[in-house]
């Protein structure tokens, strides 16, 4: 096992021990500061006695749908520069305007326009993905070395073919970091939305954490936070790192 990983794991173990020591000193009431084993129990119970597993699947399904729609639209709209400069300027302005709106501020709009359902959640996810993703794509396309686009044009690529044949792979590193930012924003947007209105047609992970609060189940709240972190880690190491290794790292574009 490599050294960095050992250090990372050792740090986490240290945090757990510190937590347990603080707990055993009884500085705060147990109702607010549970022991490590209580959180562990709540974690297991969330999946066995309660339905957190089903809720996670529901949340992830909405997340993936929203992420997909957001990325595809960001890509198409950011590629407008290849067709018309004015359209592209208008889109740049929209990105600057809408990127500033916090997702949570749009929840009232989502509820009134789309009702309390899956559509509203997906709307929130798309909003949180499309603007940062567009920024990455626009910046990434601008940073594509001129020589690649000239070589592409020289071999007969133009318009959409040039976008897919040259701009997309040449800026893949930035696009991919846009997807990473987008995914993190989407995940946060999704949970906020679910905390406000449950989780669309079915209940989601955001609902679960609110539900635990109303039940004064502090262990359950921490257990849910751990679940959120774990899903993030699985996506980072299980998906993003693997994609990176097989693309930009293999191509020698990052080290």
């Amino acid at each position: 096992m490599n050294k960095k990983l050992c250090a990372q794991i050792a740090f986490l173990v240290f945090i757990l021990i510190l937590w347990q020591i603080l707990y055993s000193m009884h500085i705060w009431p147990e109702l607010l500061f549970p022991s490590v084993s209580m959180i562990g129990d709540a974690f297991i119970r969330a999946f066995t006695e309660r339905e957190l597993g089903v809720m996670i699947l529901h949340s992830l399904r909405l997340l993936i749908e929203g992420l997909f729609i957001g990325v595809v639209f960001a890509f198409i709209l950011s590629s407008l520069f290849a067709i018309n400069e004015n359209l592209s300027a208008i889109y740049n302005m929209l990105v600057c305007m809408f990127d500033l709106i916090p997702g949570i501020a749009l929840i009232p709009v989502a509820i009134l326009w789309l009702g309390i359902g899956d559509e509203a959640i997906i709307f929130m996810v798309v909003h949180s993905v499309i603007w940062p993703m567009s920024r990455s794509i626009i910046d990434g396309f601008k940073a594509v070395p001129k020589i690649y686009t000239e070589v592409g044009k020289n071999m007969g690529l133009y318009g959409a073919k040039l976008i897919f044949g040259v701009y997309l792979p040449a800026s893949f590193e930035r696009l991919f970091s846009g997807i990473k930012v987008g995914w993190a924003r989407a995940w946060r947007g999704l949970i906020s939305a679910e905390m406000v209105f449950g989780g669309g047609s079915a209940l989601g992970i955001g609902y679960y954490i609110t539900d635990r609060r109303t039940n004064l189940d502090i262990s359950g709240i921490f257990a849910t936070i751990i679940v959120i972190i774990l899903i993030g880690i699985v996506v980072e190491y299980g998906i993003f790192r693997v994609i990176e290794k097989n693309t930009v790292v293999k191509w020698g574009m990052v080290h």
């Binding site: 020589i147 690649y148 071999m155 020698g252």
Partner: protein
């Protein structure tokens, strides 16, 4: 060779070519006219900043210009695969595809539908530049000289009417450069390629070109001649030193003129 017996029609016809930059207003190409015939190897020599790169970029279709540039009688309006450019920059291969695919991909774009056929053709040309065993490498795993060879193979495989070379060996060390010159000549003869080659190196121009053109600081042609020295050219070839001195004098005058102004 462009002796006019077989190929009376030029592949490339340039007449009264002018090019100005706006900011500040500078004349980069001033009344440039010449023809390029089948299997010509025309070397364009010039001090840096004389507009020789601009000239080749105009021919490639990357720059706007006034005057006439025609390939096979058709005016050059945009880049196209009938004129493939080989750049000085080593990073002209696409880093996201392997060496073999860098050669095969332009074939696909230009309508070669059958994948096996594309790969076979790409392999043939990769073999011609002596890099068969690197077919599945990614560009970042190759040296600068190897990358330039792949770029040349890519241009040849595409079967362009003219190969435009913008100082392709200028960033190589002297030994690789000589080796690449020999290889390029060998391939050029074997394939019957038509080449327009930009350089600021007198030795390179004498070694490679069957015609040599010298550009001056004001973007005009100050010399245009047949290369009298028989191939293969070495510094010991008869007439080499006289030609070298002649070209060197022209270039040096240009440099002094510039300093004098």
């Amino acid at each position: 060779m462009g002796d006019g017996t077989l190929s009376t029609e030029p592949i490339l016809h340039i007449e009264n070519l002018h090019k100005e930059y706006d900011n500040p207003v500078t004349l980069v190409l001033n009344n440039v006219s010449f023809d390029l015939f089948r299997e010509d190897f025309l070397c364009i020599l010039g001090p840096s900043g004389c507009g020789k790169s601009t000239l080749i970029r105009c021919i490639a279709g990357f720059e706007k210009y006034s005057g006439t540039i025609e390939v096979d009688g058709k005016r050059v309006e945009s880049p196209g695969s009938d004129r493939t450019m080989v750049f000085q920059d080593f990073n002209q291969l696409f880093p996201w595809i392997t060496v073999i695919n860098n050669i095969a991909y332009p074939l696909k774009i230009n309508g070669m539908k059958d994948k096996a056929e594309r790969l076979k053709k790409a392999e043939t040309y990769l073999n011609k530049v002596g890099l068969s065993e690197y077919r599945d490498y990614y560009p970042h795993q190759l040296s600068g000289g190897m990358k330039q060879r792949v770029a040349i193979a890519r241009a040849m495989a595409l079967g362009s009417r003219i190969i435009l070379m913008d100082e392709p060996f200028a960033a190589l060390d002297a030994m690789s450069r000589n080796q690449m010159q020999d290889e390029l000549l060998r391939i050029k003869e074997g394939e019957g390629m038509t080449v327009l080659f930009i350089t600021h190196n007198i030795q390179e121009a004498i070694t490679l070109g069957n015609r040599i053109m010298v550009m001056g600081n004001s973007g005009n042609i100050i010399e245009h001649m047949e290369n009298p020295i028989e191939k293969p050219v070495t510094p010991a070839s008869p007439g080499y030193s006289e030609l070298w001195k002649h070209l060197n004098r022209l270039l040096r005058n240009e440099c002094q003129l510039e300093k004098g102004q």
